[in-house]
Symmetry: C2
Subunit: 131 residues, 2 copies
DNA sequence: ATAAATCCGAGTACAAAACTCGGCTTTATT
DNA sequence: AATAAAGCCGAGTTTTGTACTCGGATTTAT
């Protein structure tokens, strides 16, 4: 049960954007250098965040990324969901992924834990973090 | 952020032991067949649970495994800790694993989440599950 | 027209997870 | 004492996933 580097990098990048007040956009180069994240890898991460409508991009010179919503409207849970994806265990979401799935006490544990995690991550927004 | 098969198998095996009322020990063969878990792999898992004092073993004919404590004294968190190990992110536990670790807002998110997960798992015992 | 930026698809390298195998040790039973 | 049923243990192999890399195409401000 680890948080992937992808998610950790992604959260840091988005926090970086949320903290930026003066510029309207920040380039990948700037973010990757400041946060010490591989440029090429961060590009992939930002692409995923863009597809999830968390950030938006601007091409061309002086282009870059910016948040797609106000910090108060972006839950940490959204970011984790976009990058980490899926659920804690497949038997929760995928029907028939486990032969004993009905009447499985273990499953209940994972379902409740999943709910707890979701709640914890969905009650924190970027605004909460930066203030 | 997935729960490994090892942990899922392990929890199911331990629940199986907790539910067993009549026999004092259950063999690997019995558990693996009932729970449809590879015998050889389950052996490794039980070895880890034994080292963590969650189960105990009895060698020789009619040997097998049993719980090392009463179901009410075994927290789900112990089992997860034994098999899943470590923390959600290394920057929480390993000093210097991340260059920006001080003053990192992301780190706060992971620390709080870790605490939430630990609490959720430590407030449920095997007894709670089987009753 | 140029150059600065993102976009995109296809890789590669490495690590970890999941599982296997063969032989050894312990011990109840006969 | 011999046997066989169980767990113990170390060293593999296979599979999967993560973390990156690279080359070229596209967009767009100047």
């Amino acid at each position: 049960m680890k948080i992937s580097k992808k998610t950790r990098y992604g959260l840091r990048a988005v926090i970086y954007l949320a903290k930026e007040k003066t510029k309207s956009v920040c380039s990948l180069k700037e973010i990757s250098e400041d946060q010490k994240i591989s440029f090429d890898y961060l590009e992939k991460i930002m692409a995923e965040l863009r597809k999830s409508n968390i950030v938006k991009s601007h091409q061309g010179p002086n282009g870059g990324y910016s948040l797609n919503k106000k910090p108060g409207e972006i839950k940490v849970g959204e970011i984790v969901e976009a990058l980490e994806g899926g659920s804690l265990v497949d038997c929760i979401s995928e029907l028939g992924s486990c032969p004993q799935s009905e009447d499985c006490l273990a499953k209940e544990v994972w379902q409740k834990l999943q709910q707890t995690i979701n709640k914890a991550l969905d009650t924190v927004t970027l605004k909460d973090l930066i203030s």
